[in-house]
């Protein structure tokens, strides 16, 4: 009768990805037996994050202020705008490249069978940003999948109609890759996008 709270906790933990009933139960018992402080801190941070973190009004990345750190950083080059599918990809680009422009996060890709259209991707926000006239070059860094390409094509047309330059990130042989093991599609992309040495 009084186990209701525990059951609810286990059930709630299952909202995390990849957590089934068994793992949820293990997490709940671990917090209760060994780490009540950690549990309380987690609860408090979860509550604050869920309440306060929302989308940046300019780039739609997650942030707790109205505009995110990247968008409000005046040392960054606002004339370059890089469009990515998810915050994880933004982080990957930020970590691995020396790109110092602004970003736009779609939080998804055009995917008709899953009901993802231009409204879900916040393209109205993107066109608003473009119409403000700061960006001169848009770099499309969506994934190299059929849906990613469709998204890039669609946004590319939107941007081009405004007379701005549009770039697509290069696709080809990965670093350390051997041509023999690269799949046919990638190889043909690599050949189409060959560069002078």
């Amino acid at each position: 009768m009084s186990d209701r709270l525990l059951d609810d906790l286990v059930e709630s933990l299952r909202c995390l990805p990849g957590v089934g009933p068994k793992s949820a139960q293990r997490m709940a018992f671990h917090l209760l037996q060994r780490n009540r402080d950690g549990g309380l801190r987690l609860a408090e941070l979860l509550r604050q994050s869920m309440e306060r973190i929302s989308h940046c009004s300019v780039c739609r990345n997650f942030t707790e202020s109205p505009t995110c750190g990247v968008c409000s950083d005046s040392t960054r080059d606002a004339s370059k705008l890089c469009v990515v599918e998810s915050p994880a990809e933004l982080a990957a680009i930020e970590k691995a490249t020396d790109f110092r422009g602004h970003y736009f996060v779609l939080h998804g890709k055009l995917s008709p069978l899953d009901g993802m259209g231009p409204e879900q991707l916040g393209l109205d926000v993107l066109t608003h940003t473009l119409d403000q006239g700061l960006a001169r070059e848009v770099i499309l860094a969506t994934n190299s999948t059929v849906e990613g390409e469709a998204t890039a094509h669609y946004i590319g047309e939107l941007v081009r109609s405004r007379g701005l330059s549009v770039m697509r990130i290069a696709q080809g042989v990965p670093l350390g890759g051997e041509l023999e093991y690269v799949d046919g599609g990638t190889l043909s992309h690599a050949f189409a996008g060959r560069m002078p040495v």
Partner: protein, 245 residues
């Protein structure tokens, strides 16, 4: 329901969705098993070439093992094909998704669909051509025939008389054509019905009549659900033109 242990099965991917951290649930179109749902384990997250292969519009060869609801995909290879999916862009791509969405929603799982499978690749190839509408109508009729709802196109369902090209008909969804009265809405010409029955498609006007009829039929079989790919088609149609792409 294992398949492809000895010989891999030709397949096209209709739809895939993420499952757990690194797996995908894929719906494939195959000739012998129709629509098959499989779980592709550990294919997402970087270094696995299988995730790259599991893309829509790519001719594949697959094998799977397991019984029950969700067998496990064991092998996937790229098939030799003249078709390069990168050529599908804009509205042609939306049409490609339309093919997938129709098969995904209408085909029953694990029932042979050899006829539809045979029709799939030629339809994809035609999407960039001027014969796109013809190919789409052909695909729709093949699909309806495959699921056992072939539209009646040869005779009047009230009188049993053969369709006459110069008469007007009213198509009673989903049963078939009856000769039309003066004020019946949504009429179709006998010529269009005959052309559809013979899968020979004539001029623009006939094609438009056929498109409207097929749209009504498919709408009926989808129980009124709207097709997402059709929204995508309209969306690409609404793009401002910049004279390129």
């Amino acid at each position: 329901m294992s398949a492809g242990r000895d010989n891999l099965v030709p397949a096209f991917l209709l739809h895939s969705r993420a499952f757990r951290d690194t797996s995908l649930i894929v719906d494939l179109l195959t000739p012998g098993h129709g629509r098959v749902s499989l779980i592709a384990k550990g294919v997402r997250g970087g270094k696995h070439s299988r995730a790259m292969l599991l893309q829509p519009f790519k001719a594949l060869h697959v094998g799977w093992v397991g019984r029950g609801e969700l067998p496990v995909l064991t092998t996937v290879e790229e098939a030799r094909s003249d078709f390069n999916s990168a050529r599908l862009q804009g509205q042609a791509l939306a049409c490609g998704y339309y093919l997938n969405e129709l098969a995904w929603r209408l085909l029953p799982a694990n029932e042979p669909a050899a006829e539809l499978f045979a029709c799939y690749l030629p339809t994809l190839l035609a999407l960039n051509e001027t014969s796109r509408d013809v190919a789409l109508r052909h695909y729709e009729i093949t699909l309806l025939r495959q699921i056992g709802y072939a539209p009646v196109l040869e005779h009047d369902i009230d009188t049993g008389a053969a369709i006459e090209p110069d008469k007007r008909y009213c198509y009673r969804i989903p049963d078939g054509p009856v000769s039309a009265g003066e004020h019946d809405p949504a009429q179709i010409s006998g010529a269009a019905l005959c052309a559809m029955a013979e899968l020979s498609f004539g001029n623009e006007t006939l094609l438009r009549e056929m498109r409207d009829l097929m749209r009504r039929l498919i709408h009926h079989h989808l129980d009124g659900r709207e097709l997402e790919s059709r929204k995508m088609f309209r969306m690409f149609g609404n793009l401002p033109q910049s004279g390129h792409g």
